[in-house]
Symmetry: C2
């Protein structure tokens, strides 16, 4: 290693480090980060998307179940999510906390207005992502698999671009 001579851009021009470590939020991009333009923002963004992902998955699934079966049972939700029932119960509690779903103990789960709208949005986005993947040559079954993870990171603007692409390719 050469710790004595790291080709740092300009160590002297930067304060050795934040003298004020109050909160290193992405608010202060800190141009002194070597070569660091906005990396942190990207990761922060991705992290936040991930936090939403679970809610989106549950909401969409509950919507599907209600549509297909007339109601969403915890057992079915858990089975489809591939988790144990208590895990599903806990997730539903979070949905309730966030105002996306309602549920009375030992009864089915239902979506609020907000939750239903989210479910629709998620469903559309999912379909669009799958279609784009298919359009660029990904086999449909594989597209379905990968879309599950991808969709949560597709911003609304990117989604719009996807739709334009599909339209003009129609």
């Amino acid at each position: 290693m050469s710790p004595s001579d790291p080709p740092a851009p300009d160590p002297a021009a930067c304060p050795p480090h934040k003298p004020d470590p109050r909160i290193q939020q992405p608010d202060a991009p800190d141009a002194c980060t070597p070569e660091g333009t906005g990396h942190a923002d990207r990761f922060t963004r991705a992290r936040e998307a991930q936090a939403q992902a679970l809610l989106e998955d549950y909401v969409e699934m509950i919507g599907d179940l209600i549509e297909q079966l007339g109601e969403a049972r915890v057992a079915d939700i858990a089975a489809r999510m591939g988790v144990a029932q208590p895990t599903a119960t806990k997730a539903i509690a979070r949905l309730k906390r966030e105002g996306l779903a309602t549920a009375r103990p030992y009864r089915g789960v239902f979506l609020t207005e907000t939750g239903a709208r989210m479910a629709d949005r998620v469903r559309v986005r999912h379909r669009t992502v799958v279609e784009v993947l298919v359009a660029v040559g990904v086999p449909r079954d594989l597209a379905e698999l990968d879309a599950e993870g991808i969709e949560h990171h597709v911003s609304s603007q990117t989604l719009a671009a996807f739709q334009s692409y599909l339209d003009q390719r129609g």
Copy 2:
């Protein structure tokens, strides 16, 4: 609600629930899940991808830092990831545990052979994802943002499809 008459496919044909709750891994897709073809697998898959994502991000970033600055310091890693230094330290500990990086206390972080290979793979994948997004009409800066989250869910087969698409598209 109509809990008395859910249009379930065939409740009687299914055992009320797993009499053997040992482990409800996706090993047993459980065809009795209503309409449940392989939903659980998808989510399990996405969950696993997510678990890898953090490692991939760190490894790629460490590779970048070494290339650009000659060494990867914890402070730089933390700044670029947009996290506090202890968070980065903890992540590096995990990288070490998983055999992706080496680090001596108070010295820089380095990649193992395995880690370096992962970094290369991740870098290529990231670039490819960005190019595909751009190719379908997403503005480049937005593509960079969204790719950060998307890339971790792009399977190797899908990646291959992406590359073919880019190739034949010139």
